[in-house]
């Protein structure tokens, strides 16, 4: 197989050296085994080791290599190089502070995630074996528990861009519904109280960028709708 060459345009910023960010052009020769964008990035880093990005599992499970590719948030490890028009424009996830190149500071994102108490709350004495669920109750958690917290959704959400300190964001709200929907959790009312707020939940204007970008094909908008349904059925 002949070798392919691709054009990349990459966001570069090293706060120790650069006054401001700039875009750098690269021409890269790929090996036949390079299928995914992450393969290309790893190959590029072997040529220019000043380039920084996060990566770990390289198979869409850890969520480390989320970045903005040709204007859309994706995981580099799940993106086929051949599916992308060139030059491939790579930028860090929008709306979060840049630490260096494609690495962003996710503190705000995780702060919002922690604010919804992403763990089971059940003060009843633990049973001898386990807290059982019926298959139907378990079914409700599908499409919720799979989130890998890559932040593609929250950083594509304009409501999160404007209010990252107050709006929980699609990832956090998906996780919030994951625990609201769990029959083993006993803090439903407190969880709804925690979210009933014009900023924390109701900044969502159903823009649905989150659904568009989720690399795991999850649907935060639907989860947010279900939280609202729960609030309505509690209130009326």
């Amino acid at each position: 197989m002949s070798k392919r060459t691709i054009q990349l345009k990459m966001y570069r910023y090293d706060p120790d050296k650069d006054d401001k960010p700039y875009m750098q052009d690269y021409t890269l020769e790929l090996e036949p085994s390079d299928k995914k964008l992450l393969d290309a990035l790893v190959r590029l880093k072997s040529k220019d080791d000043s380039l920084s990005f996060r990566r770990s599992c390289r198979e869409g499970v850890c969520g480390s290599d989320a970045m903005n590719v040709n204007g859309k948030n994706r995981l580099a490890c799940l993106t086929d190089i051949d599916s992308l028009p060139q030059p491939i424009v790579l930028r860090p996830l929008p709306g979060l502070p840049v630490i260096r190149d494609l690495i962003v500071d996710m503190t705000q994102f995780f702060k919002q995630y922690h604010s919804i108490k992403p763990y089971l709350i059940n003060d009843a004495p633990a049973p001898e074996r386990e807290r059982l669920q019926s298959p139907e109750d378990r079914e409700e958690l599908n499409g919720l528990y799979e989130c890998i917290l890559c932040a593609c959704c929250s950083t594509s959400c304009p409501s999160f861009w404007w209010n990252p300190d107050k709006f929980v964001g699609p990832a956090g709200l998906l996780a919030a519904y994951r625990f609201l929907a769990d029959t083993r959790d006993e803090a439903t009312s407190e969880r709804l109280d925690n979210l009933e707020d014009p900023y924390r939940l109701f900044r969502c204007h159903t823009i649905m960028n989150c659904v568009d970008v989720c690399p795991k094909s999850l649907n935060p908008t639907r989860a947010i709708g279900k939280i609202k349904d729960m609030m309505v059925s509690r209130a009326v």
Binding site: S159, W162, N194, E196, D197, P198, Y199, F202, K228, V232
Partner: protein
Amino acid sequence: MVKRIVVGAHYGLRDWIAQRATALFMVIFTVLFAAAALGLPEMTYQTWSGLFRNSLVRFFAFLFFLALFYHAWIGVRDIFMDYIKPVGVRLTLHLVTIFLLVGYAGWAAQILWRL
């Protein structure tokens, strides 16, 4: 005041429902009113104002305007919450919007009951 992020106003659900309810009401009224207006034998001031002599039409038209202003209040407030960061400026804009919309509602009543 210390500079801390404060959330937890515990409202939002009522406005969220109201925005949808007012939208639904406006759609239904618009369709019915358009049907009634297009069904007029001729489009003159007399037939037009005759439509509003029916007090039921007048009542629902007024409700339409109230729905419109309440809907607008929630929408405009949302825009201010997203884009206007200083609390003092936001509060001022909220008050100006409320005064304007209440004024518009009074004005709408005056127009409707004068037709």
